[in-house]
């Protein structure tokens, strides 16, 4: 009944980890680096202050009462 609580035997897991997986690993690291840099590209734009023209535009649109 309580069999599922038994810890899973993991020797095969360990050998898989130790296998020569370096190619896949470095590829994963490359992906991570790319994703980090992508976030940085996006965040550099994200932290910029939004120009006032958009607040003014929203005020104008609101005053016109479009779509109300």
């Amino acid at each position: 009944m309580a069999q599922s609580t038994e810890p899973k035997a993991s020797p095969d897991k360990a050998t898989a980890k130790g296998g020569d997986n370096t190619k896949g690993k470095s590829r994963k690291e490359l992906q991570q680096q790319i994703d980090e840099n992508l976030r940085r590209v996006y965040e550099e734009a994200l932290v910029q202050e939004v120009p006032d023209r958009f607040a003014m535009l929203l005020d104008q649109l609101r005053q016109k009462g479009t779509g109300k």
Partner: protein, 194 residues
């Protein structure tokens, strides 16, 4: 992403929520166009279109995704209309237009930015949507009007193209020869990005 911070009884007009999404919308526009002036015009057009079409927005759905969709559709239809490349005189990264192979073992951000600029808008779009702005593949698929599988394969091709532009082969050992300082910088940027 889908925050349900709405208090019971409160019915917030999505128009009032629009300003909260402006920084993200603008960041997306800058990522697509790589030109701040062009991006701001695109954001302006997007706001006007959104405002006049708010009756088509389904309340309770992802407003940011809706706005992003309007923005990218506007961007591509403008591009079709004008059929010209927008020059980039004072562009985001006009100073760094060439990429040297990163065989010294790390990705310099200036090199990365220059490579990113050289991608097609479609590739920049998919990478920003799924890689940077935190949208799920399903959201991105809906925004881009394609199947989820297409988003994934496009994202893979875009990553491969980026790696190619950076002078990195797919399976290359990019960490060989990385000095401690670079590693520290990279792990720090990883922390702040997370």
């Amino acid at each position: 992403m889908t925050q349900t911070s709405k208090a019971p009884g409160e019915h917030r007009d999505p128009r009032d929520e629009l300003p909260e999404h402006l920084p993200a919308l603008r960041a997306f526009a800058i990522s697509l166009t790589r030109n701040v002036a062009v991006a701001d015009d695109l954001v302006q057009d997007t706001i006007v279109k959104a405002w006049t079409n708010f009756d088509k927005f389904t309340e309770g759905t992802n407003l940011r995704a809706w706005l992003f969709t309007i923005l990218r559709n506007t961007f591509y239809s403008d591009k079709r209309k004008h059929r010209r490349e927008v020059p980039d005189p004072e562009g985001v990264h006009a100073a760094s237009l060439f990429v040297k192979p990163a065989h010294d073992g790390h990705l310099a951000f200036s090199d990365f930015s220059a490579a990113f600029d050289q991608l097609s808008p479609e590739h920049r779009e998919v990478l920003i949507l799924v890689g940077a702005s935190g949208f799920a593949y399903e959201d991105a698929a809906q925004m881009m009007g394609v199947a989820v599988g297409t988003v994934k394969s496009r994202a893979n091709r875009a990553r491969a193209r980026l790696a190619e532009l950076l002078g990195l082969e797919k399976g290359e050992e990019i960490f060989s020869g990385v000095d401690g300082q670079t590693l520290a910088v990279m792990s720090r940027s990883g922390m702040t990005a997370a």
